[in-house]
Symmetry: C2
Subunit: 262 residues, 2 copies
């Protein structure tokens, strides 16, 4: 099932269930609890999709794909071949934008901004000190995310607060797919202006979402709506004013945003 | 004016204005917008104080006092004498607890937990790319905070997500003081079981709140309720099961919590 959040022409915001025929059935109730589809329908092309829910917090895993670890080795002069445990970092919720919104290159960015195409797990239940099996059961569904990154800030700052948390640095969407298994080989693809620039598979995460959520929940209570990012792969590159960037996660959908200078 | 959030015996949560005679006048409206005191009063000793508001995010400044920089020099083998710019880090909002609640030592804490007595500025207005003068005008008021810290996690993890963000690691309160100027010499004192263990002055921050908020707002939109911590001073020490820890900021109030083992 695809759950989306959307705005209609009269500025009403709602949740809905999206069919394969691109019809949205408006939802009443709580997507994390009890809800019902109503008979109230909208055509997908007549609404504006919004970020699919409101997290209290979002975490990335640190390095979570072998070829991104190799990139880090080159940048840091290290020679790591594996990762012993997740090393989470925080991504500001104020950086979230939705499908079709603009990613803004900050005017004071020292080195420009890069895409990182990722899969995001969305927590469905209060989650604290759970094991891996329980963690899988606490996930509502999955969406696509673009972990926009500024590498000079990432290298020089203590934390990634602005390197990955600046306003508009978290495009998320287009919807939540509840029938998705990231342990299967789903491609995560980034395209810039239609050209494929990044490809990895959700099945290749060092630490899968069950492990990540179990690990984070040992210290922190996660809440419905909280988002855990997969990590990215490869060697991302800079984007320029006017670029159209797409993140596709196979069996979820495509998230599309335009890049503009501040 | 002191603004507090409190719960009455019938589990109603409200905001109120606290008088010097410890009477709370219930507020109607929005503490960040328009509000009125009502004639509905409560005795402070008959209510439970709650964390004074709901932030979307909280940031610490990194090292912000000379003697804490010296402690970091000793730990890191460095020899810094000043700090060129703020180096913010994120503190999870799920770590917030209120006046009188227990701080929990995690059962898997490698080295135990330490107090850090701090002053907190509470953002009153949407704040993005403001200068220092505007930043001061965007602060609603100030409260006390205890930036509970686990030093092994702080040293070994990429970010402070669990070192400073584990559940219960952010006691905040007891109320918001709107008539307070941190540029004046207000003592920030920590007492453990009645004994003074830490003392600094808000006027000695390397980067005052105006500078911190201006700096952070260059990248991130801050919202009403968001909290900026002052940083701490000196050489904090471990606390033990049963300890009573107080953070007093002169001209604001005293925040008291008990420390317990998980």
């Amino acid at each position: 099932m695809r759950i989306c959040r959307f705005k209609t022409n009269d500025d009403q915001e709602s949740y809905g269930v999206l069919t394969n025929e691109n019809i949205i059935y408006k939802i009443e109730g709580d997507i994390f609890g009890e809800f019902q589809q109503t008979a109230n329908t909208f055509d997908l092309k007549n609404v504006k999709l919004l970020p699919p829910c409101f997290p209290k917090q979002m975490y990335g895993p640190g390095l979570n794909f072998l070829d991104h670890l190799q990139m880090a080795n080159e940048a840091l002069g290290t020679n790591a071949t594996t990762i012993e445990q997740p090393d989470p970092w925080f991504k500001s919720i104020t950086s979230i934008i939705g499908e079709g919104e603009n990613v803004i290159i900050p005017k004071d960015s020292p080195s420009g901004i890069q895409y990182e195409g990722e899969c995001i797990a969305i927590i469905g239940k209060p989650t604290r000190r759970v094991d891996e099996d329980t963690a899988w059961g606490n996930i509502l569904g999955y969406t696509c995310g673009n972990d926009i990154s500024e590498r000079t800030w990432q290298r020089d700052d203590r934390e990634f607060w602005r390197a990955k948390g600046s306003d508009t640095f978290a495009p998320i969407g287009p919807w939540i797919e509840t029938s998705f298994d990231p342990r299967e080989q789903n491609a995560m693809i980034v395209r810039v202006n239609g050209q494929e620039v990044q490809k990895a598979y959700t099945s290749d995460m060092f630490f899968n979402f069950g492990k990540l959520i179990s690990f984070i929940s040992q210290a922190i209570t996660l809440s419905p709506g909280d988002m855990i990012w997969s990590g990215t792969s490869g060697h991302p590159e800079n984007m320029s004013h006017g670029d159209i960037v797409e993140v596709e996660v196979e069996n979820i959908g495509i998230l599309t945003n335009k890049v503009v200078n501040e």
